[in-house]
Subunit: 370 residues, 2 copies
């Protein structure tokens, strides 16, 4: 909804008319286009009230940073009458209020502020409201089968689903099969999910990812951490994305040593030690070069696991290879595996598929499941 | 809206009741939870019709990949009566249909498929519908001032806005001030924007980013391309994100040579040549080390510009430095500049702020505006 008081007020009224809980994000900042506070007040027919404790917190926030607070920022301390403030993560307090049988929750639009408020305040609030019921989800990650082929293998389970329900989420060469169940407690919810998950894993075989974590990077990290081993990457078309993905979660320095992004043949040879023969023969986009890049990264950084990706991200073909050509490699325990993957879609999707393929090959290498 | 036929149908009816154009994304895939086609048909009271040309295209897509087509996929060839198909980008055709005075457009949920259809089909469709009016936007990027301080400097312009309108979009240490105007043609729309943009740039001074491109990475890339110069990066807390950002757009090999991600002191010393004195004295998170990393990257890759970032992404302090401490560096033309930035928020935001700061410092170095 645009920053328009009338349209926003009507949208909140409509939402309250059909839903028990309405969660809003954005429009809680200090500028005049931040009108969520006013719109909620108008939709529930209450006036705005200034909160002295919020004023004090706003002033303290700026004092800690040794900066003067613009007077305009005080509007962030105004909440609809009866609303409870949610502790600000940046400078914007969130709030919630009960209105007849409904609940309106307003959160900032800045993603990390919103996410922290969701975790600390909103989820406990919703859980309390839900009473005796819990909803639990587990995911099976699938690499190497498309969404439609994944579905073919488990369609009878999806058709028969009631509790748990089964949904797909696909992107960057990864399909997530999400199982969601409702029950009186987590233990019972998991008892509903577990046999269905087991059957799905049996059907999908080696394409179903095994490991602890909600992303391939987390699984690779956990494997290495538990073995007290380390990883390094050598990247070309991904430009640094594999290293960025491996270091997304805190504590990555337990297992991650570093990356070389080698965007030219010169760097692949000089820094990573890829042979001139491989670069001029099969070429920079080949399984030979992917293998030597993985080995070169492991050797340069002294890592137990070397991970590599080379390919053509597009938009134009490169070195005679069509857009979407991807080779990934993993050097581990004296063996080097490579895999060829046909990427599709735009540059972003091809690069994302290369990250997925490289991390999945690395997982298989460490787990001994090539 | 969840994958529920009743709820989805009502949502489409509601949207058509209040808007001229309704754009839907998702639910056009081959699995049973893909029910957007049915929901649109129900909402406008028409039946689904199988399109033989779409059937042929679906079969051809699978034949090109040498794979059997699951029968279930044929549902993707069923569209509401009277709908026009939008050429599939993957396997999912989109479609649009006119209903009384409204227009319903259904696009796939896969981001790159949706984006390509938006560009090729939907935007021309909307433009034709808009007739004689065009809407044009330009952005002023701001680094080093928060959203509220940016607003303080230009609040009178924002208050007086009618055409162009002015809006803010902030994240990862970057504020975008977006000016949007409506006029009969692009030329006239720009004539409305230009004087306001000029005034905003005057008020914001050095904090307003100068250059050609819609991201800092694009601006740095364009600067280097026009000078036939090259860049390399040395990264620590960002894990590869700066390189990934510089290679996001096609043609990056014109100016980008590579990166070293040095996640340990050992690698900073061995691969990038950072001195033991700097690592044991000021420490890995310091302006000395940021400077030597930038110089080391330029030297290792033979690049004209070396860009670096070191810092503490969190969640825990490191080496006695608090979470959010960031030092970035740029080595260019015989000079090395560094900057200290105080990051805030979660790990993802701190890393994003480091990317923004490093690329902005690099831009200033090349433009000679330190």
């Amino acid at each position: 909804v645009g920053d328009n008081l009338g349209r926003m007020t009507r949208a909140i009224e409509t939402a309250l008319g059909r839903s028990d809980v309405v969660i809003l994000t954005g429009g809680l900042g200090p500028t005049p286009d931040d009108i969520t506070r006013e719109a909620v007040a108008a939709a529930v027919g209450r006036r705005l009230v200034r909160h002295d404790d919020l004023v004090a917190e706003l002033r303290a926030f700026f004092e800690r940073r040794d900066r003067a607070m613009p007077e305009q920022n005080l509007q962030q301390a105004d909440l609809p009458e009866g609303a409870k403030a949610i502790q600000p993560e940046g400078t914007a307090p969130g709030f919630y209020l009960h209105h007849s049988s409904g609940l309106v929750i307003a959160l900032p639009g800045v993603p990390w502020e919103m996410e922290n408020m969701m975790t600390k305040t909103v989820i406990p609030l919703l859980r309390a409201r839900a009473g005796d019921a819990v909803t639990v989800s587990k995911e099976v990650m699938v690499v190497g089968l498309g969404e439609s082929h994944t579905h073919e293998l488990i369609s009878d389970l999806v058709d028969a689903q009631t509790n748990p329900t089964i949904a797909y989420l696909a992107g960057h060469g990864l399909v997530r099969v999400r199982l969601t169940s409702k029950a009186r407690d987590v233990q019972r919810a998991l008892e509903l999910i577990d046999p269905v998950e087991e059957e799905i894993r049996k059907r999908l075989g080696g394409a179903a990812v095994i490991g602890h974590g909600s992303s391939l990077a987390e699984i690779v990290g956990e494997l290495l951490r538990s073995r007290e081993e380390s990883a390094a990457t050598a990247e070309s078309l991904t430009g640094g994305l594999i290293g960025a993905e491996l270091t997304k979660l805190g504590g990555a320095s337990d297992f991650f040593l570093g990356s070389v992004v080698a965007y030219t043949n010169d760097v692949k040879g000089k820094v990573l030690g890829v042979s001139r023969d491989a670069l001029t023969g099969p070429g920079a986009v080949s399984d030979d070069v992917a293998a030597q890049m993985a080995e070169g990264a492991a050797a340069l950084f002294g890592a137990d696991l070397g991970i590599s990706a080379t390919g053509v991200a597009g938009p134009a073909p490169h070195d005679g290879k069509p857009v979407g050509t991807i080779f990934v490699g993993a050097a581990y325990g004296g063996r080097t595996e490579t895999r060829r993957v046909q990427g599709y879609g735009d540059r972003d999707n091809v690069r994302g598929m290369a990250v997925t393929s490289a991390l999945d090959l690395a997982r298989r290498a460490v787990q001994g499941r090539p």
